[in-house]
Structure formats: structure tokens, C-alpha cells
């Protein structure tokens, strides 16, 4: 119920964020060739932190165990995180954070399966061949 409320709250704000993003480019003067703006450095820094966070979430014992069960090398899976789009990174982070605290094995399988699906999108893991 809580997450349902949150998504309703977020949608108009998300829309505004999209506008902010678009406007930020319109307002920009022709970028000087070769130079990268400070904003891009801050974006890269924020992204690196999110990648590290998702990798940390993937390092949980039960998540790694489930990956091994499905025939996937956890180290290889974690390496692929850096190549995900922001939207994919978002999906993984949400899913992994929603993992129930208790020992609900079925829920873990579901989340790990979804995680591997997202990683499959970038062609890292040939999951379906292994199943």
C-alpha cells in the first residue's frame, strides 16, 4: 500500500524531472569541444555510487546462492551492472530493496529471476539456454 502511494506521488514529479532534464540542454550554450561540464562529473559520481549500491545488494548470500542455483556466476553478474541503463539500474535497485527480510525462498527466486532478466537484456547472461 505504501509503495502504491509513493508511485502516485512520484509520477508528476518524475515528469517535472524529465522537463528539467530537457530544459537543461536547451539552456546550454554550445558546449566547448573537448571539455566536459562539472554537472557531468557529478552525474557520473552519483551513478557510480548507485552501481556500487546495486552490486552490494547483489552480494547478499541468499541472492548469490540463488544465482549459483540458476547456473549464473555472481561475479560476472555484478560486473554487468556498470553497463546497465539508468532505468535498468533503477529496476534492479527497487527489486533488490523490496526483498523480504525473512526467509521467503520463493520471493528471493522471483527477485533474482527478474534481476537476471534485466541483465540478460544487455546480453551478459545466456540464462534461457541454461534453464
Amino acid at each position: 500500500m505504501h509503495s502504491d502511494k509513493t508511485s502516485r506521488l512520484r509520477s508528476p514529479l518524475a515528469l517535472m524531472a524529465v522537463f528539467a532534464y530537457l530544459f537543461s540542454f536547451m539552456a546550454m550554450p554550445a558546449a566547448q569541444a573537448g571539455m566536459i561540464g562539472t554537472g557531468a562529473a557529478l552525474d557520473a559520481e552519483a551513478r557510480a555510487e548507485r552501481v556500487a549500491e546495486v552490486q552490494r545488494l547483489l552480494s547478499q548470500d541468499r541472492v548469490e546462492a540463488q544465482m549459483v542455483e540458476l547456473g549464473v556466476d555472481p561475479a560476472a553478474a555484478k560486473q554487468r551492472v556498470a553497463g546497465l541503463t539508468d532505468a535498468e539500474l533503477n529496476t534492479l535497485e527497487q527489486e533488490l530493496k523490496n526483498l523480504p527480510a525473512g526467509g521467503d525462498a520463493l520471493a528471493v527466486i522471483g527477485v533474482v529471476f527478474l534481476v537476471l532478466l534485466v541483465l540478460e537484456v544487455v546480453g551478459a547472461i545466456d540464462l534461457f539456454n541454461r534453464l
Binding site: A20, G34, T38, A41, A44
Partner: protein
């Protein structure tokens, strides 16, 4: 529908005290007031905080800048852009009440966004928090046509939460936020840099470099603003300073390479750009490759610098 009973109840049940009652209150009584009913108060609220930061502007002047008629309200992005236009730093606060109170204690009124409707049917409103009274657990706002609106902190938080806790102050360039919010502040200054407000951005970076000497971002920013002003030597020195703090800062290395190449030091530039390319994460790699190609096409060889 199920929100309605909750809403009625909220008026009857006194919640816990939120503001710690032993602290002193604040009221920035000198904050200007622009009573306004139309436009959801966006231009009036922005004129209020700009006025408090020394920019004398009437809400009417801001209407074309921060009011999209078809949206019946001001978007935050327009407020931020308009603030840059007046050479102020649009610093968006971390989403916490403490950060908001800290700004008030520093003498700066805070522009806030509220949702006076529901999450599924929002009614956006902009107001300016000018103080708080801890004993009464109330905030003091300039809001719409009310010069001094006393609002229960709990009620304010309810409306503010529904608006994503968005809050902004317009900093005088060189002033720093009250809370330890270096990332939010650097983002605000980087926005000025991207908008071509180079001198204002440079003052912001300078202040940040003094306050956070272990942070490479301000030096990267100073390098960029110096480069934009044609000061190649100064830019090279600033990028080197950033890299001394964090040798893994790929953007600083990329920009150092570019500035060196422009100074005619192609050999040194090529050494730097190759290292930047080795270390670049996937999202920065294309830009670094472009810089490398650019440098490869430039004349020059070794140099004294």
C-alpha cells in the same frame, strides 16, 4: 475516497511535538511580501526569496519566466532557471526539515512547494517559510494573500511530503548553504556553469573550495570556468589540483588534457587523455574518446609547460 476520513481525523488529533521546544525561534520579519492570488503564487514566492537575497524584482516581471499558462503553475525548473538569470545560486535543499530550519537560522527564507490537494489530484502551491516557533510547534510562512501564516509543523510536513519535500533558497554567489550539503550545492553551481553564468559559478566554486578543501569538485568547476574565460594556465592548475585530491576524477583528467592541448602541449595532453580513457566508466567513455580524437587532430608537440 479513503483519504477523506483520515483528513478529518488529522484536524482533531494533536500529533507529537516535531520542533524541539527548547531551541530559540526565528522570524525573518524583513522578508518582502507580495500578496498574490493568481498563478499559484509561484512568481510571488520567487520574488520573495530573490528580494531577501538582494534582488529587487516584482512578481509581475517573473510571470513570463516562471508561469506556463497551460500548466496553471510554475515548474521548479523554471524557478531555477529564472534564479540563474538574476545571478543567484538556486540551491535545492536536501529533503529534510533540519536543512530547512538551518537555512532559516542562517537568515535565508526558504521557498517551498506544497501540495494542498491529494496525491492523486494535486493542487500545487508555492510559499515561503520565513521562520518557526518551537514552543508552539509552528512554522511561519508568507503564503498567497496571507503575510504571516502560522502553520502547525505537522500540517506543513503533510503538504510538503506530498510535494516531494521540494525547497529552494536563492544564495548570493559566494555564500554557502547552512547544512553540510556539498553535493546539492555543487549541483546548483554546476547548473550556473552549464547556463553560461561563468563568473557567478566561479564565485560559487571558489567558496566551496575554501570550505571543503578535500573535495575535488570545486577545483574541477574552477578549471572549467577559467577555461571558459580563456585562462588556460589557471585552468590547467585547477584541474591538476582536482586530480591531486582525486586522481580517479576522469572528467578533470579529460579537461586537463584538452587545456594542455590548447596550450600547445600536445605530448602531455596525449598522455593524460590516454589515462583518462583507460579509467573512464562507460557513461563517460564516448566524451573522452571525442576529446582524444580532437587532440589528435590538433597541431603542436612538446612544450615548456
Amino acid at each position: 475516497m479513503r483519504c477523506l476520513p483520515a483528513l478529518l481525523l488529522a484536524g482533531c488529533v494533536a500529533g507529537p511535538q516535531i520542533l524541539s521546544p527548547q531551541q530559540d525561534g526565528v522570524e525573518l520579519a524583513a522578508t518582502p511580501f507580495f500578496p498574490q492570488e493568481r498563478y499559484q503564487c509561484g512568481p510571488a514566492a520567487l520574488a520573495t526569496v530573490l528580494g531577501a537575497s538582494g534582488v529587487s524584482v516584482q512578481p509581475e516581471t517573473l510571470v513570463p519566466k516562471v508561469y506556463l499558462p497551460e500548466r496553471q503553475g510554475s515548474l521548479q525548473v523554471e524557478m531555477i532557471a529564472a534564479t540563474r538569470g538574476y545571478e543567484r545560486v538556486p540551491y535545492v535543499l536536501p529533503e529534510s526539515l533540519d536543512a530547512l530550519l538551518a537555512e532559516l537560522r542562517a537568515g535565508r527564507p526558504v521557498l517551498v512547494m506544497q501540495n494542498l490537494g491529494w496525491e492523486f489530484y494535486p493542487r500545487w502551491h508555492y510559499a515561503v517559510v520565513i521562520g518557526y516557533r518551537p514552543a508552539a510547534d509552528k512554522l511561519i510562512l508568507r503564503s498567497g494573500t496571507t503575510e504571516r501564516l502560522l502553520m502547525d509543523t505537522e500540517d506543513f510536513l503533510d503538504d510538503w511530503d506530498k510535494a516531494g519535500r521540494w525547497a529552494m533558497v536563492t544564495l548570493v554567489p559566494g555564500d554557502l548553504p547552512a547544512a553540510e550539503a556539498r553535493r546539492e550545492y555543487l549541483r546548483a553551481v554546476a547548473g550556473l556553469e552549464a547556463a553560461g553564468k561563468v563568473d557567478t559559478a566561479a564565485r560559487g566554486y571558489r567558496a566551496a573550495a575554501d570550505r571543503w578543501p578535500d573535495e575535488p569538485g570545486p577545483w574541477l568547476g574552477l578549471g572549467n570556468t577559467r577555461h571558459a574565460r580563456g585562462d588556460l594556465d589557471g585552468a590547467v592548475a585547477a584541474f591538476r589540483r582536482a586530480l591531486k585530491i582525486d586522481p580517479g576524477l576522469v572528467v578533470a583528467r579529460n579537461n586537463l588534457a584538452q587545456a594542455l592541448a590548447e596550450r600547445g602541449c600536445k605530448t602531455a595532453a596525449e598522455r593524460q587523455i590516454e589515462r583518462a580513457l583507460d579509467e573512464a566508466p562507460p557513461d563517460l567513455a564516448p566524451a573522452v574518446r571525442r576529446t582524444r580524437d580532437e587532440i589528435a587532430a590538433m597541431p603542436g608537440g612538446a612544450c615548456s609547460g
